[in-house]
Symmetry: C2
Subunit: 333 residues, 2 copies
């Protein structure tokens, strides 16, 4: 077989996103339900298809799917979207592993489909023929569920945010309520990743961890393409017994988020972090400047896609130019 | 938007394939259930993934998906697989339009999901951003259901076969039984494509016709990439009121099938037929020679993919060489 690189985007939802003030992954709370479906369409088709609009934050910052799509156009890597619990039908082709939309982690059993999705995704990860796999996510509210999983596993550290000001105290309170509802103390799910993700996580984390585990078990090179949520995936892999080195490809915007301290958590989990800088100008096009100002920061494999573009010798100026032109095309459509 | 060509493979099943002796789209009747799922995997990944093996006929002739995959590798066109009623979960990403596996057309109401799938696929066809769409199919037993639809619509003409000897008398008998079970005389569903496909067709025909209709309505260039089954789609489009010219891209093996007389039916339906010749040597590799001997003949967009390769200036010798090497790789895997 010839070598091939594939980005697996795991797209899904959690009821945790309905809690006010946790996420900027949608213009309104109602729009957040559609964000993962629309992100998948943007990645696969270059524009929203069944979904009416490109996802934006309440302030208008465009979804990072825009940049991942641009990198894909320029580099030509393969893509597979895995349904990690979508709430709205997407026109993007998706692989099913049985994941269903997740509930609010303040419920006792928010992700009953998690263990089954983990197992089916693991089998899929074992079977996918690519020689290199990037695992990415799109799920509004996902940093809160990532924090929930980290606490259930007994890992310390904070998580990043799609909001400019990280509502980390609010996330911690939600996680405390979730642990109480699940009858768990921090660390009670150490060594039991299925329990951690079912009680305190979301279906995307379950699916992403399963996919990565299966790929690792069959000697596929795996890159965790994301920030805090993919570090939670790394934690799930460590608690599943994975001991080999793990690589995280993120953005400089996530890495610079002092409220999250990604590097410290990564060091605890023995994960190497890289971040390719797209050199967005702070005074440039608003779609780029919003990232420099700390909005959105990452997601949808943005950091991993930049790394693939850089490795393919694509100048970052081309990524920036095409991102602006695609943004304008989609806005005008 | 930049121009783009996409092959939409509609993949599904019909209980009609369980009737002995109608189809060669699988090594055994049980394997035929898996053929569309495996064809989709071959197209998307270059090898079977969740499915254990590459589909072959009882005599070992490989699925035409092999050649469509090769053309895709060489040309780089986009692909979307639409779930037209799959019976086995596939690792290929698929778009859902609500189609369910079809029943045996000798039942009264074999395709209750047909009208809904037609409507959802039509909407999808309207929304897909490609500037050119090739519509293709994979469904064992599909030429018999194609004949059923043609008769229900009142169209004359025969259909081709994946078997070297077309069991056309058997197909006609099955269609007679089906019409009787549905309380229909030939032509009773003229002008009513939804009824024809629900009572005498299969979910792939419903989905393919809907996709093509939606694309045509939004001025996307549509090519029907196939043989008799895509001519049945053309008939459904004509009975839905489509009057514009329609193009069918098939293989020389389908066109040469005297038992089907594709050209006459195409002329009746005002469909232009083209066939790109891959020049398979009759004494060459068995995987190619089987086609020259009249097995399989087409399907999975084989003819359309050859046309795209030819238009892109890919020499047919490269298609043949890569097809043989991919065949050997998949057999050895």
């Amino acid at each position: 077989m010839t070598s091939s690189t594939r980005l697996c985007l795991v797209a899904g939802t959690t009821g945790t996103a309905n809690i006010d003030g946790l996420s900027a992954a949608g213009a309104t709370p109602a729009a957040m339900r559609e964000t993962p479906s629309a992100d998948a369409e943007l990645l696969c088709y270059g524009e929203p298809v069944r979904m009416g609009e490109m996802p934006v934050s309440p302030s208008g910052c465009p979804t990072p799917a825009l940049f991942t799509r641009v990198a894909r156009e320029l580099v030509g890597f393969d893509v597979a979207v895995i349904d990690g619990g979508l709430a709205e039908p997407t026109a993007a082709p998706t692989v099913s592993v049985g994941a269903k939309p997740g509930g609010d982690i303040r419920e006792r059993d928010p992700v009953p489909s998690g263990p089954g999705a983990f197992a089916a995704a693991r089998q899929l990860g074992r079977q996918l023929p690519s020689t290199e796999l990037l695992v990415a996510e799109t799920i509004p509210g996902g940093t809160t569920t990532a924090l929930g999983v980290l606490r259930a596993l007994g890992e310390q550290g904070a998580v990043s945010s799609s909001l400019r000001e990280n509502p980390i105290a609010h996330k911690r309170e939600v996680v405390r309520e979730g642990l109480a509802a699940s009858g768990l103390e921090p660390g009670d799910a150490a060594g039991d990743p299925r329990r951690a993700v079912r009680r305190m996580g979301d279906p995307v984390l379950a699916t992403a961890a399963g996919t990565a585990l299966g790929a690792i078990e069959t000697d596929t090179a795996v890159t965790l393409a994301g920030g805090s949520q993919l570090l939670a995936v790394a934690a799930l892999l460590r608690h599943a017994g994975v001991e080999m080195p793990l690589d995280l490809a993120t953005t400089p915007f996530v890495r610079a988020d002092s409220s999250a301290d990604l590097e410290e958590l990564a060091a605890d989990l023995d994960v190497s972090v890289s971040a390719t800088d797209p050199a967005f100008p702070p005074e440039g096009h608003p779609a780029l400047a919003a990232y420099v100002a700390g909005e959105a920061k990452g997601g949808v494999g943005f950091g991993g896609a930049l790394e693939l573009a850089d490795r393919a010798g694509i100048p970052m100026a081309r990524v920036r130019e095409r991102a602006v032109s695609l943004y304008e095309e989609v806005q005008d459509a």
